[in-house]
């Protein structure tokens, strides 16, 4: 029913949260609903105070004209959907939408392909494979600001290691982060690097659920590794793949840190995504402009929710089958 359950039962590699499949409905201990509500009460209060209320304030921001003065005094004028109209007609909108699409799609496609290749590779099991697989988690665990600033320095035009290696092979200096042609590419590369561990771990645990006998039967039939991958691994992994890709999509839509630290969305709007646009309007300049920022943010929620529901739908279907 949930991501957690589906993936946990899809095979937690360490067996930490392994559990028997849950029967549909079970009678619990005879306690009253009030007790149950009591235990859930902190969460309910928390969700209302720290999810519902901020989100409501966010909608409130987007339908008023909040200047800084109005923000402090709290007497912003109600403008309805005017701010949304402004956002849609802004020249940044098509750029940000396009950048978001490119950044997201390219990121998840490469993260997935590389993650899957590595998962298949690690599954074959060799000396040190467990240790090396653990090492692959490191990029995922580092604070994003650490990875992003390291990448920024590696891609530095004059002193970066990447340009230095390119120069050794006779390449020209590329202004990775400061040229409008490569800024989006640079942040996408860094983001792919960040997402590989997540894809690797999930796909690896998905692979472990494919029984070894299937492969043995296939090799008896004379199928080589390539054939085995396309006729067994890939089709059997499809449910896990779908979930991995959708989760990757939902997470990538939200990315702010990496892009902001590496390029702040620039030069110009060259690497501005919707999330960056929203962040920049509200917090990135000396002149906070909360209303359009909130409008862009709400738009982003809407997009995320569409794919979120797709994800839930997919998961429900898998549960039924």
């Amino acid at each position: 029913m949930t991501t957690t359950e589906a993936l946990a039962t899809a095979g937690a590699p360490s067996g930490v949260d392994r559990q028997p499949p849950r029967p549909r409905r079970r009678r619990g201990p005879a306690v009253s609903q009030w007790t149950a509500v009591g235990f859930a009460a902190p969460l309910l209060v928390y969700l209302i105070l720290f999810y519902v209320y901020p989100l409501w304030r966010n909608i409130d921001l987007s339908v008023h004209d909040y200047t800084i003065r109005a923000f402090v005094q709290g007497n912003a004028e109600f403008v309805g959907f005017e701010k949304y109209a402004e956002v849609f007609s802004s020249s940044t909108f098509p750029t940000a939408l396009w950048n978001t699409a490119v950044f997201t799609v390219v990121s998840i496609v490469f993260q997935y392909a590389i993650g899957l290749a590595l998962a298949v590779f690690f599954r074959s099991g060799f000396r040190l494979s467990g240790l090396l697989r653990a090492m692959f988690l490191v990029p995922w665990l580092l604070p994003l600001i650490v990875s992003a600033s390291t990448w920024a320095w590696m891609l530095n035009s004059d002193n970066g290691i990447v340009n230095s290696v390119l120069a050794a092979f006779g390449g020209e200096q590329i202004n990775w982060l400061t040229s409008p042609d490569t800024a989006l590419l640079s942040v996408t590369i860094a983001n792919i690097w960040l997402g590989i561990p997540f894809n690797l771990v999930i796909l690896y645990s998905g692979l472990q659920n494919i029984p070894g006998e299937v492969y043995e039967a296939a090799s008896l039939d004379g199928a080589g590794p390539w054939k085995q991958f396309w006729s067994i691994t890939f089709p059997l992994l499809r449910p896990v793949s779908a979930i991995t890709l959708l989760l990757g999509l939902i997470y990538t839509l939200k990315v702010v840190d990496v892009i902001w630290i590496m390029t702040t969305g620039g030069p110009g709007d060259a690497s501005t995504t919707l999330a960056i646009w929203s962040y920049r309007e509200a917090f990135g300049t000396g002149q906070p402009d909360f209303s359009p920022a909130a409008a862009v943010g709400n738009l982003l929620i809407l997009i995320a929710l569409v794919f979120g529901f797709l994800h839930l739908q997919l998961q429900r279907r898998q549960e039924d089958s």
Binding site: L61, M135, P211, G212, S278, Y279, A294
Partner: protein, 276 residues
Amino acid sequence: MTGRRLVQKPWWKTALGLVLTAFMLFPVYWMVNVSLTQTSDLRSDPPHWFPLHPTFEGYTAVFQQQLPALGTSLLVGLGCVALTVVIAAPAGYALALLNLRGGRTLNFLLLVAQMIPAVVMAMGFYAVYNSLGLLNTVGGLIIADSTVAVPFGVLLYTAFMSGIPRELLQAARVDGAGAWRTFRSIVLPVSRNSTLTVSLFAFLWAWSDFIFASTLNRNGELIPITLGIYNYIGNNTTQWNAIMATAVVASVPATVLLVVAQRYVAAGVTAGAVKD
């Protein structure tokens, strides 16, 4: 683990694995390398591949200037762990074992909550905190950071607690234990591993958070280490060895946790961990 073939373990796979890992971890190596480079060598072309004449200037600077920031991050991380566990564990109990009415809806809402971009939450929190006077406070930052971990924690606890054998709970009830006793002396101890996984992620997310820190706490007196690095980059773009030294120090908790708690990390990622 049925898929593991133990028949042949060709050495070339280990070699290839080593090469791939080295390639993947190159940025991490580079961060350490730059952190040890002399300031005068930072601009040398080509860059020095190895820190042949290492300097610890960068690290000295970190410990002179960033100690309060490290302390703040530790405080925020631990606060976030405490808040997350206190809210998520009982909620998981109610959802998994007490047949809470509307449980499916709540579960669904938690999944949706995980999809909301942090930048949107940051704006909402900014507006709320502005009126409540919670901007630039450590408490406010702890609450905002916990919004990433709480839905994850509840879902993880629920998934695990659903698997606790009912006989165990029934036995407790026969012995006269109420719901609270059962929770405290049976469910919680049995769910120890889940608590570790939840705590680990709550801590790491809070420690790594940049968005909430840079929006809700940017003028705070106590800034976390992520903001310390960010301000460092803004103020002095020449001292990359010091910036990278700070980055190395900020990565220590992640590295330590990976070494001592690797299996919990893997469990958390597989449980559909969120990172934004």
